[in-house]
């Protein structure tokens, strides 16, 4: 009972300290939140983007005796009205250049695409003075760049079509076959259809695309939402760093009590000194546990983080608690007073956190191999490994190696620290 009373008293004091609450919960959530807002909202699991408003003026006409069935301008225009882009492009037709420019000026639309009257004729005749004009709102950057890319791709496709026709003609003639000019429109039509379909599929139907990126996650949600996975790693990095900070900071309560005189007073009561130390260690466990629970819940509900399978999460979390408390007890056992404690906590834990990879957890491709090797000697590095596996959807069985290594490190650190405290106080 006395052990529990000491632990509850320490917890009460911790949760009444604005600094402790700030470092336990507010700081990790705030840092993760900053990254979250920097990369956009993902609470629903979707990456949404404001639709690009595009005004199109298509003055292009099919020249007489053209080999094409429709003018190139029609193909360019149709890209912006295609069903597949409706979720992110809002296109509308304008009668002439003046009216579409006025719409841009009034910020009714973000980008204007102006296809000149004789675009098809001049482009097919190889004259380079003809061009599709793109006018954009100067305050925008992404929208105009996307529209420009789309127009360039279509025009390049048409140029590619021309090259394809020339190649077919040359090959036929080289083989002594006289090409039939009436077949050219059907060749162009087939090529155009293929090219338009290819472009559409490339960007909107990953299954048909040339290159398909598949994340190695077992969880379908994460495959569909790689940014959520990145937030998970960010949150894990913050959570581990601040869990270790909290472990050490809570353990500093023994130094604070020493300075306040209450530790000496505790020793004058009929309470075994070992029990006093156990009570204080228990408070550190509770604090790190509560902090972790709050951060995981906040990460789930505020940032949509999928922590992984419950058993795997439990293992990663337990390892984190044991390691954070173990390192806290060890570090503070070397510290003489709270003045020394500040730099040890601030400097020591930041360096260990960096070497353990906590601040670079979400860098795509990871850090150089040397960092991974160093991480193997640091408890934070092993805690991170466990959490990475949990986030990737690994089963609890797969986490056993990092789990056992982490808790072994934690228990050894705890034992050394507790021994030093006993020597000092008991």
């Amino acid at each position: 009972m006395k052990i529990l009373a000491i632990a509850i008293k320490d917890l009460t004091r911790s949760f009444r300290s604005a600094f402790a609450i700030g470092m336990m919960v507010v700081a990790p959530l705030m840092l993760t939140g900053l990254i979250y807002f920097a990369f956009g909202s993902m609470s629903s699991g979707d990456v949404s983007m404001t639709a690009i408003k595009v005004g199109v003026v298509n003055a292009d006409k099919l020249p007489d005796n053209s080999v094409l069935n429709v003018p190139i301008g029609d193909n360019i225009r149709s890209m912006f009205f295609d069903e597949s882009v409706k979720s992110w492009i809002e296109a509308s037709d304008y009668a002439d250049e003046a009216s579409v420019r006025a719409a841009v000026d009034k910020q009714e639309i973000g980008v204007a695409v102006i296809i000149p009257q004789n675009f098809t004729e001049r482009y097919l005749s190889g004259k380079k003075d003809v061009q599709v004009l793109i006018v954009s709102d100067p305050t925008l950057s992404i929208g105009p760049a996307v529209v420009e890319d789309m127009v360039t791709m279509m025009v390049d496709g048409v140029a590619g079509g021309g090259i394809a026709i020339e190649t077919i003609m040359e090959r036929l003639q080289a083989n002594g076959i006289q090409p039939n000019p009436t077949q050219i429109p059907s060749w162009i039509e087939r090529y155009t259809n293929w090219y338009a379909d290819f472009q559409r599929n490339l960007f909107h139907h990953p299954d048909k695309a040339v290159l398909v990126l598949v994340a190695p996650a077992a969880d379908e949600t994460k495959t569909a939402n790689p940014l959520a996975q990145m937030m998970g790693l960010t949150m894990v990095g913050q959570m581990i760093f601040f869990a270790f900070f909290t472990g050490s900071n809570s353990m500093m309560s023994i130094l604070r009590e020493d300075e306040e005189g209450t530790l000496a007073r505790l020793f004058t009561t009929p309470t075994n000194r070992t029990n006093i130390l156990i009570g204080k260690f228990l408070a550190v466990f509770f604090t790190v546990f509560l902090q972790g629970m709050v951060l995981m819940a906040a990460g789930r509900f505020a940032f949509g983080i999928q922590w992984g399978q419950p058993a795997s999460v439990a293992l990663a979390f337990a390892a984190q608690m044991i390691a954070a408390v173990g390192l806290g007890v060890l570090l503070i056992s070397f510290v003489k007073n709270t003045k020394q404690g500040g730099p040890v906590l601030g400097g020591g834990l930041t360096i260990l956190g960096m070497l353990g990879g906590l601040f670079t957890a979400n860098i795509p491709g990871g850090m150089p191999e040397a960092f991974n090797v160093i991480g193997n000697f640091i408890p934070q590095g092993w805690v991170l490994k466990g959490w990475r596996m949990a986030l990737d959807g690994s089963a609890a069985g797969d986490l056993l190696i990092p789990f056992f290594i982490t808790i072994t490190m934690g228990i050894v650190m705890f034992a050394i620290g507790a021994m030093m405290f006993r020597k000092r106080y008991a």
């Binding site: 006395k2 008293k9 009460t12 007073r265 020793f267 004058t268």
Partner: protein
């Protein structure tokens, strides 16, 4: 059975002997004061009695329980009021008392009612929900005492509880000590204020340089110096010019000089003082002030050590 029994208690820190063969006792229900200047070894002695320090030699017992062999039992009979405030500033007065009560094994309704009683005793019932950190020095001192009373200990140790507080709070604490003693509690009170020791104590142990140099009741200690009166004199010249002449003056038992002030113990100030003035005139020294004090604990300390208690 003595409530407090101290026999040949020793404590050394390396080569430094903080307490040397301290021996004294206190009967149940009495107030025993440990009187001595700063560094005399009072706090080290009570640290050993309260189980904070392990004696290097000797032993002590509280209500018959040896502090070295049965420390838990000895501590259970003991309430300790530390010299400095030892409370949690971010907990309320009530939360502090509840916590310390639990440390002495109190639980449930008994704890609640005892905390209410103690709040009443220390006069802080109406401020019980306020954080101790917001209290004045005197109020903190009262909570500091209250925390030691929760388990109704047989013996209470108070280590200089009136240091650095206002006269009103000091009076409140002294009255509390008397009231606790009236209720049957044995009090071991350390102080370097002889007035407090004189007012409160049944017995007084005077400590200096780690040793108990005198032990007895107030009257017994005064008798040690007979009827000697203390005379403090300041001069307009160096003390050395007159010191030897005054030492040879009839009726002067002892004479010392410190920081320009001469302190003499004399058997009858009415007879001796004119002789001192005569001698001063003959040596061309002018006396600028004279302070005469009847025999008291200060005189006893001076008689035993040659130094004033507050030096």
């Amino acid at each position: 059975m003595n409530a407090i029994e101290v026999k040949n208690l020793k404590k050394s820190f390396g080569d430094f002997q903080a307490v040397q063969d301290a021996t004294f006792s206190a009967n149940a229900g009495e107030v025993l004061s440990l009187l001595g200047p700063n560094g005399a070894g009072k706090s080290t002695t009570i640290s050993m009695l309260s189980g904070l320090l392990t004696p290097t030699g000797g032993d002590a017992s509280i209500m018959g329980h040896s502090v070295t062999k049965e420390p838990e039992l000895a501590k259970a009979s003991l309430g300790v009021v530390p010299q400095d405030i030892a409370l949690y500033p971010d907990l309320s007065a009530r939360e502090n008392l509840v916590f310390w009560g639990k440390m002495y094994g109190l639980r449930g309704a008994a704890l609640k009612s005892r905390v209410d009683e103690v709040l009443e005793i220390i006069g802080l019932t109406d401020r019980q929900k306020d954080h101790v950190g917001k209290f004045s020095g005197g109020m903190k001192r009262r909570v500091n005492i209250g925390a030691a009373l929760l388990h109704k200990p047989d013996v209470i140790i108070m280590d200089e509880p009136t240091v650095g507080i206002d006269p009103q709070s000091r009076r409140h604490i002294l009255d509390n000590v008397k009231e606790l003693n009236r209720q049957g509690m044995t009090v071991l009170y350390t102080t370097h204020y002889m007035e407090e020791a004189a007012e409160l104590s049944n017995h007084i142990a005077i400590m200096d340089k780690g040793r108990v140099i005198a032990y007895g009741s107030h009257d017994e200690l005064i008798k040690m110096v007979g009827q000697e009166t203390r005379i403090d004199v300041t001069l307009n010249a160096e003390a050395e010019k007159i010191l030897d002449a005054w030492r040879a003056t009839e009726g002067v038992a002892r004479i010392d000089s410190l920081d320009g002030k001469i302190t003499a113990l004399v058997d009858d100030s009415n007879r001796v003082l004119p002789r001192l003035f005569d001698a001063a005139s003959k040596h061309g020294v002018r006396i600028t002030s004279v302070d005469i004090q009847e025999p008291n604990l200060e005189t006893v300390f001076l008689h035993l050590t040659g130094r004033a208690l507050r030096d």
